[in-house]
């Protein structure tokens, strides 16, 4: 039986179950509490909720029926991929169902000549590149979670990865999606041909966090695998210099395949775990990857090394083999789990800032560590200004999570004040819903609600996520602060 614990709810769980069973076989519907438990949160475990039911459809026709049923009965629907999201986007709704796309796990077509793959949304990100590898092709966006996260989740979050600087985000690499609306209508958005007619709905759908429709098919662009990749690792005695070195690389006209930074706290956490060979004495290290033909890579590596030494790097190493390259990266890619080993819990932030404000941001974070009494390690997609501070806390200690949350909120709001954004790739979800009120003023938030209504008039898809109500913003108490005004008069300017 579906649980029914909310007296004021308008959903009749027994009726919902009956309606869903009409077209969903037994193994496609979970209703028992122990079966629902694994779905109560995504990668952001601090926020949890049990849904009324979890649907695991196997066909698009079932997805359509589920959505129609929920639309008719007024039941909230939360789509879910692998549940690796870091903003609570896939956290269930207590009065709704989770629509898991886990069984949509087939790669439908790989077209070598046209360089594209048609996949179902539950296919894992890495599986696409693995399937394309025999043709010398791959799918470029590579979130660190790529062994687990799904293409559907990537589309919903506009996910990035360490190679986005040169190869773009999900939005730059998806050609077409098939979407089912909450009313059960099927839309083809985008196409294998460039510039599909009408509004660029693909741009609107990508990064829309499951708020506008349920993705049932994705066509992605594949690109030829570069012949060679090599990575330069540079140490810096202070983070400001490392930040300046990033700007210097760009100023030299180089767009590396990846440009990442880790601070001392991050390398210290990672090194014992991965043994990547990081310089533990450095305040910050930069990883700068070059890819292309062997001649091209040699030329670029020489230029990068020149720029880095001129920028004051204290040590520079260039990967001498593919194994070494992968080892240098392994530490960066395992940064989150590595930090997870040295602290009971960690909270990953995702602000973006103009690259030149990096040193300011890191000094401010150091001040916040004292203020909140929590440590923070920083990994940074430095090339595109996307910072991932990992705030370490212990959820079993009373008040600890609240301090971590306040710490995170302060980082995000400072990101906005420095001219950036509260989220570069993890999405707003439930986590950053208040900070949306800081980044946007009332007219934009109203516009977002109108867009939502154009797709989902009754607001049944992922309600309460991504876009705050104006009421919520008023409560958060910052609507009087307008864009561009000094947001943190109390904060010391660096």
């Amino acid at each position: 039986m579906l649980k029914s614990d909310n007296s004021q709810c308008c959903v009749d769980p027994a009726n919902l179950e009956r309606q869903l069973r009409r077209f969903l076989p037994q193994h496609c519907l979970l209703v028992g509490e122990e079966d629902l438990r694994p779905y109560e949160c995504d990668g952001l475990t601090a926020y949890r909720e049990l849904p009324l039911a979890v649907c695991l459809p196997e066909t698009e026709a079932q997805v359509i029926d589920i959505l129609r049923t929920c639309h008719r009965l007024g039941v909230p629907v939360v789509a879910r991929g692998a549940g690796t999201g870091l903003s609570g986007g896939a956290m269930p709704h207590a009065q709704g169902i989770v629509l898991s796309l886990a069984r949509f796990n087939r790669i439908l077509r790989i077209d070598r000549l046209a360089r594209l793959a048609v996949v179902q949304p539950g296919v894992r990100n890495l599986a696409v590149s693995e399937a394309a590898a025999p043709f010398g092709l791959y799918y470029a966006p590579d979130p660190s979670s790529q062994i687990a996260c799904t293409l559907g989740g990537n589309v919903a979050e506009n996910s990035g990865g360490v190679h986005c600087l040169k190869y773009g985000l999900t939005v730059h690499n998806v050609l077409r999606i098939r979407v089912v609306s909450i009313e059960g209508e099927v839309f083809e958005i985008g196409s294998e041909a460039p510039d599909a007619p009408g509004y660029d709905l693909l741009a609107l759908m990508i990064g829309s966090e499951g708020m506008l429709g349920v993705v049932t098919e994705v066509t992605v662009r594949l690109i030829p695998k570069p012949e060679l990749a090599q990575v330069v690792m540079a140490s810096f005695a202070d983070v400001a210099r490392a930040g300046d070195a990033v700007a210097a690389i760009i100023a030299a006209g180089i767009i590396p395949a990846g440009l990442e930074m880790m601070d001392k706290a991050a390398t210290a956490a990672v090194e014992p775990f991965v043994k990547a060979g990081y310089d533990l004495a450095a305040e910050a290290i930069l990883l700068c990857e070059s890819d292309g033909t062997p001649e091209e890579v040699a030329e670029e590596i020489a230029r990068v090394t020149g720029v880095l030494s001129a920028a004051g790097a204290s040590e520079i190493r260039v990967s001498q083999s593919e194994a070494e390259r992968l080892r240098f990266w392994a530490g960066r890619k395992a940064a989150f789990p590595a930090v997870g080993r040295i602290t009971p819990d960690y909270y990953c932030m995702d602000g973006t800032i103009p690259r030149k404000r990096l040193a300011e941001m890191l000094s401010a974070i150091a001040v916040m560590e004292k203020k909140y009494g929590l440590r923070c390690a920083n990994v940074f997609h430095a090339g595109d200004g996307n910072l991932h501070p990992l705030i370490m806390y212990d959820a079993s200690q009373p008040g600890n999570w609240q301090r971590a949350e306040a710490f995170g909120a302060e980082i995000l709001e400072l990101s906005v004040a420095l001219g950036g954004s509260i989220t570069g790739e993890h999405g707003v979800g439930i986590e950053k819903i208040n900070q949306m009120c800081v980044q946007y003023a009332t007219p934009e938030i109203e516009a977002f609600h109108r867009i939502k209504a154009a797709f989902d008039e009754r607001g049944l898809l992922n309600p309460g996520k991504a876009v705050p109500s104006l009421h919520r913003c008023a409560e958060y108490g910052r609507m009087h602060v307008h864009r561009g005004d000094l947001k943190f008069p109390e904060l010391e300017r660096f």
């Binding site: 360089r115 509004y199 709905l201 091209e296 001219g419 570069g424 991504a466």
Partner: protein, 353 residues
Amino acid sequence: MPPCSGLDDIVSAVRAAHDAAIPLRLRGAGSKDFYGGMLAGELLDLSGCRGIVAYEPTELYLTARCATPLAEIEAILAEKDQMLAFEPPLFGGATVGGCVAAGLSGPRRQQAGAVRDFVLGVKLVDGCGQVLNFGGQVMKNVAGYDVSRLLAGSMGTLGVIAEVTLKVLPRPPLETTLVFACAEAEAIGRLNDWGGRPLPISASFWHADRLFLRLSGARAAVEAARRQLGGEAAMNPELLWDSVREQSHPAFAGSLLWRLAVPSAAPCPGLRELRAIEWGGAQRWYDGEAEAVRDAAVRLGGHAVLYRAPESMRCREGAFAPLAPALLALHRRLKRAFDPKGILNPGRLYAEF
């Protein structure tokens, strides 16, 4: 209506038009008056809203007011060896606002991406005269729906783009152009074969049995590719690519021009009126009868735009491929979300709104 010279003028003009329900026809420099649906409404002359607001070479962005000429932007970028990588056509005096609204990209699109891929943020005046800010100046920003990119190609029907921030990129250190003699089918085959290999191809143009290929990138990469590909060095490559980008090349001459966007590997549709192929096979230019061209586009899995045509034909045919009914309904709802009275460039994208 007097020309607008800044944001306040745009806001008051749109508010007045909204209150009186008077349709407005948005115009930067008018370089694309020929493009899209019919022009209707009172002229909203934006030509005075110009000027580069910010340019940060190391942050890779540039912010400009809507009527800033692209030529001015390209000149300032060139000083720092940077560029608008989507190579938009200038068509005389094209402005940055019109460039984003029309969503036209040039030869380098096959390598670098389209206009929309470079839009980072906008200041928009919606159909009620409200000023809205979306996106920003950073490369990655997933807070809220991506309205900035939605505006690329919206033909001014969702709002007046008052200011726009674009991502810019360094110019490649070296470019060289090769030419090959080959027929249509062979050109399509070769382009797709090369596309699957890690070659620094930044543009392609086929016309009259000659295929031009531009290589761009690090010196070593370009030279290695040139050795691999063979072909002959083209004469005056800069002039050639400029004429392709600006459509001053004879391939685009005449009063009727269809643009077919198709999957790059789509076979030859067997239409006689092929003029040119670009973008690795994904953009093909034709003249010819509407029905035959539109059918061919659909058959190949793409769509056709009536790019240049006599007014009577544009009226009759509509410029853009028709939308499926459900999609059209969604477009209408989105249009209403930004422009409830339908006063902004009515009919410029589709006759229906």
